[in-house]
Homo-oligomer: 144 residues x 2
């Protein structure tokens, strides 16, 4: 087995709300880096990526999210200045109003074209890729 | 940052050869678990997932693989009996004849419906998902 150090695998979810078409759920991060982000977190050893996504969405937004599809994987070594993380990003759907919890100081629902401030990490790229996919059916290139 | 233990991220590639349509590249693993597998390996810290995929393909098959698309992520905690690994699986294309190297005792090119022995790990599931995608355009479900 590898003795190498590896990037830490995480999950993030693009949550579409059934009664708020065209908008997504974002969180205000409670910890450094402070700022707006997609909800997400680390995958635990022994946990499926999809289960980590559902768990983190419940913790950070209070929502019971149904995962619709795997969207993409983002692994740029510079995407998180703290250490190398690799995010498995899902598209999910939920009903109701998100409420920030755990690492999220607050949850907001917003049209991704009208965010009140920039997103942290590479989440602006993820959202741009998502909009391109939704509008033109184009998936992101393999290296992301 | 998380102090949790995380699954170790890996890559595997479904390599289509330009002059052998309908076939894929497999390797005979040189190390435990011995058996047929898709070529792949661990992502190093500081390395993009896509770069790890291209590097591992070169090491294990000698091929210069062009990644076509991200296919899916496989994270079943039981998929590797040694420890929990999570594989980012790409579809790639190459020209030429693969030659086994590094962790691969031998490389073979084979129609995935006519493999001479079972695949190790969850690679039979990955190949079945790939065939369903190629034949019917259906992507695997999020939880894989």
């Amino acid at each position: 087995m590898s003795k190498h150090k590896n990037p830490a695998p995480t999950v993030d979810v693009l949550i579409e709300l059934r009664d708020r078409p065209g908008e997504l759920v974002f969180i205000e991060r409670a910890h450094d880096p402070i700022g707006l982000a997609l909800p997400g977190g680390f995958i635990d050893e022994g946990e499926w990526a999809a289960d980590a996504a559902v768990r983190e969405m419940k913790e950070e937004t209070g929502l019971d999210v149904e995962l619709v599809e795997l969207f993409h994987v983002y692994s740029d070594p510079a995407r998180d200045q703290r250490r190398h993380t690799m995010s498995v990003v899902f598209i999910g759907r939920a009903t109701g109003t998100p409420v920030g919890g755990d690492d999220a100081a607050r949850a907001i629902v917003c049209n991704p074209d009208a965010l009140p401030q920039p997103l942290v990490f590479d989440h602006a790229l993820i959202v741009a890729d998502y909009l391109a996919y939704k509008r033109r059916g184009v998936r992101p290139p393999p290296r992301r």
